[in-house]
């Protein structure tokens, strides 16, 4: 179990249940993400897609069920624990501190301290190194020039903020990146930029979970599409085997796909539509 082959899921969930009082968010849901793929999670409002990914992000703890990351069984009580297992999340709200600058935001919650006495005793931050490395991360992803690194995040445009959040998720040796509705608040051009970024992340070998309402975008970038319905996994399809109309039909329960027609195992890519 410990060795992760290409057909072994990097993130796996079985029989996940999450209740909020009398509301059931997840009702014995299963989930599989394979290494190096973009898996889109779609579903109607209240289907439990946000709840599902928040379990893997560490923001929710499931009431029942089991989760594995890279073959290791896990139980996250905080986003911090998820990160330690290489799972980073870009939340819909982006989780940035608007008044702080880009480098402070990139390192929020895992600041670098100065080496030696100043760092250990006075706990002084290594601001220079944080700025320099933040600049490198952003440049690496081709998102921003270095001289803007000490700009407050609130002065950035929506797409730029999104880019800062994505860079933060990708910067720390993570293996799995969860993106919750990354383009919901963006215009067409900025959305295109973010979609490029997602494909770029996959090309670097990262595994990406993409939550989205935007069907054309999902079918453009995803290798496989996980359709969530009534707190369960209704089907897993690919843009090649099924159409957007099929996806909508599955979401609403009008279409049921037998398991033999689903794509539950890793898909041989790459997505030719790129």
């Amino acid at each position: 179990m410990s060795t992760t082959t290409s057909t072994e899921p990097i993130v796996k969930g079985r029989n996940l249940v999450k209740r909020f009082g009398s509301v059931t968010g997840l009702n014995h849901a299963n989930f599989d993400l394979f290494p190096g793929e973009v898996l889109a999670v779609i579903g109607d409002n209240g289907a439990g897609k946000s709840t599902l990914i928040k379990c893997f992000a560490g923001a929710h703890t499931p009431d029942e069920g089991e989760m594995w990351v890279r073959g290791e069984q896990v139980s996250f009580r905080s986003t911090h624990e998820a990160r330690e297992h290489g799972v980073e999340t870009v939340f819909q709200t982006l989780a940035v501190a608007p008044a702080l600058d880009i480098s402070a935001n990139l390192y929020l919650g895992r600041e670098l301290r100065k080496p030696g006495f100043l760092g250990k005793v006075f706990r002084q931050l290594d601001k220079k190194r944080m700025k320099r490395e933040a600049g490198e991360h952003l440049q690496d992803l081709g998102i921003m020039t270095v001289q803007n690194i000490s700009q407050a995040v609130e002065t950035l445009s929506g797409g730029q903020r999104q880019a800062v959040s994505v860079a933060r998720a990708a910067a720390f040796g993570s293996q799995v990146i969860i993106l919750d509705e990354p383009t919901a608040a963006l215009g067409v051009r900025e959305s295109a930029k973010v979609l490029n970024l997602i494909q770029d992340l996959r090309d670097r070998g990262l595994s990406v979970i993409l939550i989205s309402h935007n069907m054309p975008q999902v079918f453009e970038v995803a290798d496989r599409v996980h359709v969530q319905r009534l707190g369960q996994r209704a089907a897993v399809i690919t843009p090649k085997t099924h159409s957007m109309n099929d996806a909508v039909a599955i979401m609403t329960g009008a279409l049921e796909v037998p398991e033999s027609e689903q794509t539950l195992a890793a898909e041989n890519r790459h997505n030719p539509s790129k």
């Binding site: 989780a95 702080l100 931050l125 445009s157």
Partner: protein, 351 residues
């Protein structure tokens, strides 16, 4: 609206855009919120200096700085709390509690309810006073963090509670200066610095401002204080233990109140339970005039020192100009509203 065409997410072009003088001012003030209070302080000094030359005499300036010491020190605690988008109404009441505890532990008086443990070594008494204030801050923090109660309500309650406790434990008796050992009044020791006359309390206050300015800017804790005040949900999602940060802020505020208690005994020369019931509001005034936002997440401690100095300078200047106290209070009130108005305007930068 004028988001760049994001060809390469390059902001340089955006900076090249010509801005009006007012816009530039707005952006500069946005980056350095305390700058406006510095300008106001300079303006106030020039105006009152022109009106009455006695305003700029070293003795007047010395007195002004010395008068700032109580509110100024407490304003550090208030700034930390307001940065987390909280507020502390109990600040004066806890300080008085700490002060009376110090004095009553150091002096043997029959009026006190703590007779059995009174008559301590003055250093022990001072330490106990600071610890008591720290514990009081911890009570605030615990109630706010553990039960998710709004800071306004919690500290409104503890404001009353600690005022009551002070009266229950130590009665309403003022402990006069001559009764107390010298160490208790140490912070009032004055010495000349050039033409000015400063006290040890003033030096300690300045040192604490430097310390907290450094800590807020250069430690992860400082960054987290801003992040928690800015957007607590976001802070939590990035893995910051927001509850621990919040609790620690109230705890540290308690320590500052304890030190302020010692400074107050030195400044006033006695320990009285009726120092000034409005201290809590005065610290908020100083913080707000100093450019720290009541919505949390932006501001700097140094602004609060400027804010406290502005309030004192305006009071002093108006009184030297022969203006009645009623008008002075009115002027301070207008100043507060102006400060909040300016803060709102600054926050609108590139919204």
């Amino acid at each position: 609206m004028s988001a760049p065409a994001t060809s390469d997410y390059n902001l340089d072009e955006e900076f090249a855009v010509k801005r009006t003088l007012i816009q530039r001012l707005q952006i500069t003030l946005h980056r350095f919120p305390w700058l406006s209070s510095l300008l106001v302080l300079i303006f106030v000094i020039i105006v009152f200096g022109l009106i009455n030359e006695r305003f700029l005499l070293p003795s007047t300036v010395s007195l002004m700085i010395q008068q700032t010491v109580i509110v100024g020190t407490l304003a550090i605690a208030q700034t930390l709390i307001i940065l987390t988008a909280g507020i502390d109404l109990s600040i004066g009441s806890i300080m008085i509690f700490g002060q009376m505890l110090m004095a009553n532990f150091a002096v043997y008086t029959t009026a006190s309810n703590v007779l059995p443990i009174a008559g301590q070594n003055p250093w022990v008494a001072i330490l106990l006073g600071i610890l008591a204030a720290t514990a009081a801050g911890a009570v605030n923090g615990f109630l706010i963090v553990r039960f998710n109660l709004p800071p306004f309500i919690v500290t409104l309650g503890t404001w009353s509670v600690f005022m009551g406790l002070t009266l229950i434990l130590f009665k309403a008796r003022t402990i006069q200066g001559p009764e107390m050992p010298e160490q208790m009044k140490l912070m009032g020791t004055s010495f000349p610095v050039g033409p000015f006359n400063l006290t040890l309390g003033v030096v300690v206050m300045f040192a604490m401002y430097l310390l907290f300015a450094w800590v807020l800017k250069n430690t992860a804790w400082g960054t987290h204080v801003y992040a928690v005040g800015d957007d607590p949900v976001a802070a939590q999602l990035t893995g910051i233990n927001t509850k621990r940060v919040l609790f620690s802020v109230y705890l540290v505020a308690g320590v500052i109140m304890g030190i302020a208690a010692w400074i107050t005994i030195g400044r006033v020369g006695s320990a009285s339970p009726n120092v000034d019931p409005m201290l809590n509001l005065q610290t908020i005034t100083a913080v707000v005039i100093g450019g720290t936002s009541l919505f949390g997440g932006r501001g700097a401690v140094i602004g609060s020192l400027l804010g406290a100095l502005i309030v004192n300078a305006v009071e002093m200047g108006l009184s030297l100009a022969g203006v009645d106290q009623a008008y002075r209070i009115t002027a301070i009130g207008i100043l507060v509203i102006l400060a909040v108005g300016i803060d709102q305007w600054i926050r609108k930068v590139k919204a």
